[in-house]
């Protein structure tokens, strides 16, 4: 299961390996940037949160879709990954070639053998080397001239995730997922 986010902030790693709790958290958050041309009035990339990566098409409460998905995942043993197809510190969009390389390592399972490290604030597990992928982009902090520039943007984005998730914290199940999200 792959969550594609086009991160206009340049904060998220090109690929993260998600825990089951993070899977639910990022599914309900549905973070992405809207790109030009699909809805009236949207012409520039704008960061947005769209529940279940498709809030416009949900007719039932988002947690209902989350529940059904988790049931199917557990039953089939599926794994989940968060892939940023958007931007990084270079100001450019991550290349389709690198993204395809990442997807290939997910599909052949080699990503699960790769050495990993944890990205702060978001607590995301990221591989440090993947076959066919530029190693200099795997840790987004490396794409900035100074890591502090990443941290500043990351704090901003983390705050937006936390604020967006407040709407799910009215019940115990939602509250329990807060720990899987970014922390300031």
């Amino acid at each position: 299961m792959i969550f594609l986010s086009a991160d206009a902030f340049g904060v998220l790693p090109p690929v993260s390996i998600l825990t089951p709790e993070q899977t639910q958290y990022y599914f309900l958050s549905g973070f992405t940037a809207k790109l030009a041309g699909t809805e009236r009035g949207i012409t520039e990339p704008t960061p947005t949160f769209s529940a279940c990566f498709g809030q416009a098409f949900l007719e039932l409460h988002p947690t209902k879709y989350g529940e059904e998905l988790v049931k199917k995942m557990k039953k089939s043993g599926a794994k989940a990954y968060l892939v940023n197809t958007g931007w990084n510190g270079t100001g450019k969009r991550i290349s389709i070639k690198d993204t395809r390389g990442i997807i290939d390592t997910i599909l052949d399972g080699s990503i699960n053998q790769a050495p990993t490290k944890t990205i702060p604030l978001f607590n995301l597990e990221v591989p440090t080397a993947l076959h066919g992928v530029d190693p200099n982009i795997l840790d987004p902090r490396d794409t900035y001239a100074q890591a502090s520039q990443w941290e500043e943007k990351a704090r901003d984005l983390a705050g937006r995730f936390i604020k967006n998730f407040e709407k799910y914290t009215s019940n115990e199940a939602g509250k329990a997922l807060v720990a899987a999200g970014p922390k300031l």
Binding site: M1, I2, L4, T38, C52, A56, T99
Partner: protein, 313 residues
């Protein structure tokens, strides 16, 4: 046998073109007598291009769900605390907008397309689309799953879509609606009306919304994602993301089999497509980086809102 549309309140129909072939649709959409947005334009690669007017995307502010005793406790309604696109519509207003759509389709030459939404036979929805524009029929034929001749012979719709793109809700203020445009769903009578927008995506995403309503209530996951699998159909991947994040691009991988690019269900037998076609952005499309999409632009494909060079098309 001519289809009887009077059961839908559509009367005085001049002619009904029911489930036309691609060749017939091509002749109809390229008819030189057509004007305005009805008109198709042949492109260099053989695909027909159409223009959808001011609506080149969905119109979420004009989307309504009928709030009745069955839907009231199930639908995730928009609220001040958490805004979404599920605006409630009462049953009286629904009957008014349905009347507008039905009246707009009376005394016309109409196209009717019967198609399935959902590849799983047990849970698929048999949908009848009624409209007056040939290319809209072509859009349906491309995007939804085409029944076999046998299935068409015994086709009983579970859901009916009235596409009245040429009509307007003149009295929208009186009805408490947002504009002259209206896309409304009745989950109980299983009908959709589309008024004053030509954008094909309202029909496609409209049926997706309905699958998103009916399937999770039956314990089936319904997902806005693309999906592909290996050559044995064993190692399936699903890609979530809003349109424009790479769902279509990344799932079209020559080493793997595409299941679908946008809407899927997941039941105990696995992942299945809702659709029978692909709907991709073609802006700045490059043959090298996205060969599958580029190569799909040929005869029988339909393009929306592409500016076509007058000399080389």
């Amino acid at each position: 046998m001519t289809l009887d549309l009077t059961r839908y309140g559509i009367v005085g129909v001049e002619k009904i073109y029911h489930n036309l072939s691609y060749e017939e649709l091509y002749q109809h959409e390229m008819d030189p007598a057509l004007t305005g947005y009805d008109k198709g334009q042949l492109t260099e690669l053989g695909a027909v291009n159409v223009m959808t007017g001011i609506f080149t995307g969905r119109s979420p502010k004009d989307k309504y769900i009928v709030d009745d005793s069955l839907s009231h406790d199930k639908v995730w309604w928009t609220s001040d605390a958490y805004k979404n696109d599920n605006h409630p519509m009462n049953e009286q207003v629904w009957s008014e907008v349905k009347k507008i759509a039905v009246n707009a389709l009376c005394n016309k030459t109409l196209y009717v397309v019967d198609a399935f939404c959902g590849a799983n036979k047990d849970t698929r929805m048999a949908v009848r689309f009624i409209m007056e524009v040939a290319w809209q029929a072509h859009f349906i034929k491309n995007m939804f799953i085409q029944p076999t001749a046998e299935e068409l012979a015994s086709f009983t719709p579970d859901f009916v879509v009235y596409n009245a793109s040429k009509a307007k809700v003149d009295n929208y203020k009186e009805l408490g609606l947002n504009s002259e445009t209206c896309v409304a769903f009745n989950t109980t009578s299983r009908e959709q009306v589309i008024i004053n927008t030509w954008y094909g995506g309202e029909m496609k995403k409209g049926m997706f919304s309905m699958m998103n309503y009916y399937l999770p209530l039956q314990g089936i996951a319904s997902m806005h994602c693309s999906a592909n699998t290996d050559m044995e159909g064993k190692n399936t991947a699903i890609f979530f993301g809003l349109s424009g994040t790479g769902k279509t691009t990344l799932s079209t991988d020559p080493k793997r089999l595409l299941i679908g690019d946008d809407e899927h269900g997941w039941d105990d037998n696995g992942v299945f497509n809702f659709e029978g076609g692909c709907y991709a952005k073609v802006i700045n499309l490059d043959k090298e980086s996205e060969p599958d999409i580029y190569n799909a632009i040929k005869r029988n494909a339909l393009l929306e809102n592409v500016t076509v060079d007058k000399t080389v098309r």
